[in-house]
């Protein structure tokens, strides 16, 4: 079985309060030098059968209609070998 990863991130212009909360906690914990943190989602899809062009097209459609809300989020589809 092949694995396809879909990474979903809030668009750069959208405020990410979760990421900000993490970033503000870092110096308190002794981790210095991190200017910004943004938090996203990672989907790992175990795909039946070959990950050919047709399968990737389906996954792209799935990401666009369901896994990501493209009004607020960007996504990237990657095949993991």
């Amino acid at each position: 079985m092949a694995r396809v990863v879909v990474d979903v991130m809030l668009k750069p212009e959208i405020l990410d309060p979760q990421g900000q909360a993490v970033q503000r906690a870092l110096p308190r914990l002794g981790f210095e030098g991190i200017a910004d943190v943004r938090q996203g989602k990672r989907f790992e899809l175990e795909v039946d059968g070959p990950v050919d062009e047709a399968a990737l097209a389906r996954i792209h459609e799935m990401a666009e209609t369901f896994l990501a809300n493209t009004v607020i989020e960007d996504f990237v589809v990657k095949v993991e070998s």
């Binding site: 405020l15 309060p17 369901f66 009004v71 607020i72």
Partner: protein, 226 residues
Amino acid sequence: MTARIGVVTFPGTLDDQDALRAVRLAGAEPVSLWHRDKDLRQVDAVVLAGGFSYGDYLRAGAISRFSPVMETIIDQAKSGMPVLGICNGFQILTEAHLLPGAMLQNNHLHFICRDQKLRVENAETAWTADYEQGREISVPLKNMDGRYVADERVLDELEAEGRVAFRYLDLNPNGSLRDIAGITNAAGNVVGLMPHPEHAVEPLVGTGGTDGLGFFTSIVKRLVAA
């Protein structure tokens, strides 16, 4: 003829009973609709009630948007059927692209529950005609994902077309852009808002008393006149 108004129950919907009660108090016949049914049982309008449908997994409203009942509601809403989405219902309407923009987690990351003052900015929609434009009302607000966002172009368009239906007054409880609490589609039949008018329809509860009843009397008058 009595208007029939449907209220959808998804797994995780919490406010369907209050919505059904509000419909009844406004003089219409409340009809329970189930998320798995495609058939809307001849209702004249639909309320998508608040709660946490499908546990808000993935994104609030994202999974519900693909339920069989929503397939029919999306079709009917596009051909003019009145739909009101309250809180989780508003989230479902944005996920279904019946309303523009999206809902995100509150900017302070806390669940919030308070009485919220609102200004009625558009009293010409199917669900707001019983209010006067500019009227200030108070209704309960309770949400985790209530931050309304859209890009500048969409926000400007909403403002220019008078489609910001409600704005938060005194305090913006969740970081919604331009203090937007509720919006309408261009036709005025689809309205979404984060606060809960269905919890303010009887004098016994809420600081606003019956401030929320106008949503339901508006639609009843509209349907009876039709």
